[in-house]
Symmetry: C2
Subunit: 548 residues, 2 copies
């Protein structure tokens, strides 16, 4: 039986990456990410890959292997460990540190054996040999995986850019990638995020250079907001801040946690005497403060949003202060980020953001970097992963340009079962691979029908008609009542609607229609029509008929 | 009494521009725009400036004067004419053409006298003299207004860029602006949209050059989507298409309408024999088709979205076709536009958009253009308008750099009453200036409370508890029923909730609590708490207590 590769998430989207490799009865899962809800996912907290295929798998999976510590690669791990029998979780040191803390919070530390991936070593995992290869990305300790099984070599890049001057000196290991290319790569599964973008992504160091230009000119507070996991970004800000004699304060739970883990494991260097706690900021002159904080996406309860709305207990910004939003809004978050910028500007701060200053670079390689990887690996076949369809298609185009024949390029979807044979790659089957919503404590109980109802309710609200009728003789007892929420109608319309409901009810009862379901249907239709005619709105109509 | 300037919309936002000028008992309104709803405006169709200040004004207003035909400058005109007594509406020729069609649809053609603004002439309007000055923008026939009254000169720029090579040759009239500067400008009200952006916006002609590079290489259909009012964009695409022997088809109601008006008035040149109707496309080889269409913002029912979803009656795209999205997503529309791109890519089309190709330029001037205007006009005072707060603040900074003293710069808000005296500008008062929502046929009836309810409903749905009790003795008659929509609970939870509702009801009735309102309150609180404890969700709880 040949090797089967099954993406369960991350194709046709940016988020919730998860790919299953099956060989000789064994299975490993590369990455276990989550996605954040979109507008249409009303009320949903998190979006997970559907894992029923794995849950139904006899014997579970040998291991989950993680390429790096971003939420779209590790965020669904706790849910995976609850639903699927997993023997081991493999990751590099920082990634392990991050997920240990996450699993601890979920009370899942003992649910699988946590094992460290050593860059350059080959790790035997069931029928697989997994070799991590150093890749530069916007979080330290990111790796590609060279996966050997069944006499074949697969390279799964994870997220990467070709940063030749990364902050920690840990460059993408182009030498090792070239060796893998010489060995002969049967299939490349490559990051497609920036496959549409021309040229090369700038080095992370460019942001440090911007900080070196910006910070010395400022005499007030400097607040830098970035992703909580962007250790290098924080390090660069800290380095410049220290040179200028500023103290460093980290605000925001996730950033404090990540900074602690990174410092303890040696991935971040902040001398103890430079750090101050948020409640000590008040005693420090603004010109001696450097604040690192969460909220670069304008998340409602984040540190930066609370600061922007003047609602943070430890920090207020004022004229003379500078806020650097060192991130790009993830599509869908633009308006929130703009709101935060406007609020901060209104408070008097100067706000520098990626639209107007070089304070952010992407963590993903552009076209020329993808071409370089294709040139180094010379894969016989390519399966673009990690991206919306347009990005996957652009990546496929790059593979064609690099000389990969059409039979060696596959545009798969979540749930596709992919096989490689003699340099040709095919989709041979399909498995269940939808989405699972996390809403409050519920995982998977909120389905499309609930979302459809929420959407309907959100558009025009709800109108409840309460009608009572006597069980004995089926006569209506009182004039129907109306309860409206999120629907606004003039008093006359409400009265007209009650009359209409009463009329419909009487007519039906007179016609000896007594079945509650039928009465409700008729009430629903006639009241809905009346409301639409008068207002061009379609509130959800809920008729309640009480028999007494 | 001195001149009062009152912005009713467009400050602290991009959208719904409207500014009142009052002098000697007379009033004119510059622009009457609308805004499109944001995510939080659930179910709302349009957002208008609140016009109660104008509606309450004794004698109404002399005139509405429009700077150009974009919706955020003319879209609320029909609503203004319904609410406020307006004697005249002034606009340049194309703008007049566009609003005539709009007013006709609303049956409002006779509600005010429509008069044409002649560039270079001074028009007497009550206590004001209004002189339009040619400005380049992303719609033809845009003007700034030089407004003279009470011995003062105000310059209201409208939207502009300093395009020195506009498609129609109608450059921003820097010569006339310089003359106004020599005459002495008391107050500049200037477009702030791109005040944060360094350098200069590129000429509209750059897009035409991109078309000249892109189109000849394509052998399939070429579809260009842009704003329906972007006459120059359409003209440039048409010119290149004609040179290549393609026929032109315009799809989308608003674009067809605007193109008709622009052609009839001589603002657009498309020979009749080049045009084909949508239903004739099928007879034309793909390589001879150039389609111009609406939907560049991913609007749900627009032509491009329907094409992307394979749902357009006249047009299907396929491999070999090229779609050019010649616009930038307005913040908030990014995900919809990305969805359209992905769908089109999936259908096989190559999609070029502003992130990856030079197929769009902004219609607003950047920093250096704003500086040029400040240098030409040398205003004694500056009031940044047309922009979010951060943009207004950046514009104020440019004014400071240009030598305008702090006392001559005002950051006003919608509703501020602004006066200028001896080069000093001050906010002297405040009037009502909120938002008015249009929802279906209702204008202004949907208020914040309805939106709050819709938001609540959208998060976790609704749970209706129906309890009946006997009027005579107050005894509960049946076990309470539950109706849930958009809320998902396990069967056990539903049963537990019914039991809890029954228990609460019995307890209250046993304690002789008979008042319906009180019973409902208690049901609401106890059921809400139970649901939250079990699910961490907060559906809207609506208790219905029926007395029989």
């Amino acid at each position: 039986m040949s090797v089967r590769i099954i993406p369960l998430g991350g194709l046709g989207e940016v988020g919730k990456n998860m790919t299953v490799y099956e060989s000789g009865g064994d299975a490993i899962v590369v990455d276990a990410g989550l996605a954040f809800p979109r507008d249409e996912h009303l009320g949903v907290d998190l979006v997970l890959p559907e894992m029923s295929y794995l849950a139904d798998r006899a014997g579970g999976v040998q291991a989950v292997v993680l390429t790096h510590g971003h939420e779209d690669h590790v965020g669904s791990l706790p849910y995976l460990l609850r639903q699927v029998r997993v023997q081991e979780v493999w990751a590099t040191r920082l990634t392990l540190g991050l997920i240990k803390s996450k699993l601890d919070e979920h009370g899942l530390l003992r649910s699988a054996e946590l094992r460290e991936l050593d860059v350059g070593k080959r790790h035997r995992i069931g029928a697989f040999e997994v070799e991590p290869v150093r890749m530069a990305h916007s979080i330290p300790d990111a790796v590609a995986l060279a996966i050997r099984t069944d006499g074949k070599l697969f390279v799964h890049t994870g997220d990467y850019k070709l940063d030749h001057t990364p902050v920690d000196g840990m460059k993408t290991d182009v030498g090792r990638l070239a060796e893998l290319g010489n060995e002969g790569v049967d299939l490349l599964l490559g990051d497609s995020t920036n496959a549409e973008r021309p040229g090369v992504t700038e080095s992370e160091r460019v942001v440090g250079e911007a900080f070196r230009q910006i910070f010395p000119l400022r005499s007030g507070r400097i607040v830098v907001s970035s992703f909580a996991s962007n250790v290098h970004r924080m390090q660069q800000a800290v380095d410049v801040g220290i040179d200028l004699g500023r103290k460093v304060c980290i605000i925001g739970r996730s950033m404090r946690k990540n900074a602690n883990i990174a410092r303890n494991l040696g991935y971040m260097n902040v001398p103890e005497d430079v750090l101050v706690k948020p409640d000590a900021l008040g005693e420090l002159p603004p010109g001696e403060q450097l604040i690192l904080c969460t909220g670069s996406q304008g998340e409602p309860l984040s540190a930066l949003t609370r600061i922007a709305y003047g609602d943070h207990p430890a920090l207020t910004v004022e004229r003379g202060d500078t806020v650097v939003i060192s991130a790009k809004p993830v599509p869908g978050n633009e308006l929130r980020v703009h709101d935060a910028i406007n609020r901060l500007a209104r408070a008097g701060a100067e706000v520098l953001h990626q639209e107007i200053a070089p304070v952010h670079v992407s963590g993903h390689g552009n076209k020329e970097e993808l071409r370089t990887i294709l040139a180094l690996l010379r894969p016989r076949a390519v399966m673009p992963v990690h991206g919306e369809f347009r990005m996957l298609a652009a990546h496929a185009e790059l593979a064609r340009d690099a000389g990969v024949p059409a039979s060696g390029i596959v545009l798969a979807e979540n749930g596709s079962v992919v096989e490689v044979e003699n340099g040709s790659v095919r989709i041979v089957d399909e498995v269940e691979a939808g989405v699972t919503f996390v809403d409050g404590l519920g995982v998977g109980d909120v389905k499309d029908v609930a979302l459809r109802d929420r959407r309907h309710l959100s558009e025009d609200g709800v109108l409840i008609i309460v009608a009572t009728l006597a069980k004995r003789d089926g006569g209506a007892i009182a004039r129907p009542e109306l309860i409206a929420r999120g629907f606004t109608g003039a008093d006359e319309l409400i009265e007209e609607t009650r009359d209409e409901a009463g009329r419909v009810l009487r007519e039906l009862l007179d016609g000896d229609v007594l079945e509650i379901k039928l009465l409700q249907e008729h009430l629903h239709d006639s009241v809905g029509q009346l409301i639409y005619d008068r207002t061009r709105r379609r509130p959800m109509i809920l008729p309640v008929v009480v028999e007494v």
